[in-house]
Amino acid sequence: MARKITYQQAINEALDQEMSRDPSVIVMGEDNAGGAGAPGEEDAWGGVLGVTKGLFHKHPGRVLDTPISESGFIGAAVGAACNGLRPVAELMFVDFMGVCLDQIFNQAAKFKYMFGGKAQTPVVIRTMYGAGFRAAAQHSQCLYNVFTHIPGLKVVVPSNPYDAKGLLIQAIRDNDPVIFMEHKVLYTMQGEVPEESYAIPFGEANVLREGDDVTIVAFGRMVNFASEAAAAAQKKGVHCEVIDPRTTSPLDEDTILESVEKTGRLVVVDESNPRCSMASDIAGLVAQKAFGALKAPIELVTAPHVPVPFSDALEDLYVPSVARIEAAIIKAKEYK
């Protein structure tokens, strides 16, 4: 039975249900319980934003607090995955990939291929990303594109509570290393989520709205902005198709290409910096495989090529806005 819960609760529920189903699932990260070794409460935090709250007592011995040693514990999660566990490690902010990337891209991502198919590394790395918290340059980046470049990794970008639960359950059951990107602004987003367990397959885009005029492809938080912009455009008589690929790797190319074949116009919305981004990647894909269908130049709505600024006046300019997306839709539609 579905009821309304938050994106954060949906993630917690997915972890809880998978830990109950499969004793090999463990959770580790900085303050994932909180209070380890301290005189006060155990499970004091349940993660820096409370996403893992309550799991510590429900699943004794399987929620491990770690030192602030990302390379150490992300690598430990990878090693444990090679030895029969299904660890879900939390990299608190994706910006910290800089201090543990070797264990992700040189170790976890490579084992299966480099060892001739004889290794499985079923590890999930949950990580928080995105601007909007006034958290500035080192705690706000949108880096799913970096992981998407690496063969061997799967990359998941849920845009709503329903997807967050189903995609995380799939991620935990998957036998490859999965980077699970949680947008920090979305944690409070409410949505209908079934109580029972369900898995959403990777590489299957969600079409949120159908339309004949303009295709919009958006990722993570930007899916919601794209939907708002599409609703605004609808009032002006422009019918948009909104596609949420849900995973950037694997990528559901077919749904995107089929839509562009129908509409002939494409807007890509991506919170990343523009160069070598998912926006440029989708534009390249469509230019290569649906060139003949295009009736207008592809519009990219991204962050500018600058670090994430701190001041709200600047950060609000940095993040792609509904107004910018709507303007791109109209520009694509009116192109002659």
Binding site: G61, G72, A77, Q107, F115
Partner: protein
Amino acid sequence: MTSTLNREGLLKAYRTMRTIREFEERVHADFATGEIPGFVHLYAGEEASATGVCMHLDRKDYIASTHRGHGHCIAKGVDPVGMMAEIWGKATGTCKGKGGSMHIADLSVGMLGANGIVGGGGPLICGTALAGKLRGDRSVGVCFFGDGASNQGTIFEAMNLATVWNLPAIFVAENNGYAEATSSNYSVACDNIADRASAFGMPGVIVDGFDFFAVHEAAGEAIERARNGGGPTLLEVKVSRYYGHFEGDQQRYRAAGEVQALRETRDCLLQFRRRVTASGEITEAQLDAIDAEVKALIDDSVAKAKADPKPAAADLMTDVYVSY
């Protein structure tokens, strides 16, 4: 008696060390012909370390290795025939020719891979040890690393984590004196790598890496302690390598005659032979027979590696979840 090992154990130890030596001497010779592709880093001289440690391990115990991984692979039970084919880049190799010398791995025997990243194995072995601890199966994880890796943050993080989680992990620092061309006298800030153990709340033990029996005994204590829930140990094995950092290294940073003197006075195989024959436990003839068998095995592995097919073009796109 020379150790806790019985005759069968002694013969096994000798065979393992001999196999590593023969394997490495043969790769050295064949690399010089230009037939072996890529980089190879040889373990000759350090055989007592991998063998003395791995004699205490079984399949459910994992090891993580280094660039210089052939010896660890053989000591952990990876098939030398598949290894040779891997080094020659053949489809029949341990990793189907996709890994090469720096990435030989066989998880079915608990060998988590040679590693092309200096210090890459420390965090991984914390993970395999954690899995064993949570299962309660008394297994351990052993991270072999060099004096170069001893200065990497990953190793510090891993040692700290191993104590924090009280993991059945053993950190074996194989100090062969040189990180590439830079002496550990220069690059390691303290006198001994083992001195760092106290900073991570674990015992630090120094052992002569040319002496199989010393390594075997020290490793045995550390591994037994870990199996019994006593937590991690840092074991520093002081040793040397007989060849360069990689094949082709002219080793101008070494003193003239340094390696020759080690080979003549301290070689692990030489010392082992003297000791077990002097005690009467093993005869020269038994050891000579092993030498001959090992030579035949390595000859055979090279002949097969040369004759085996290279991977097919289609193999480029397999063993990874998605290919665009």
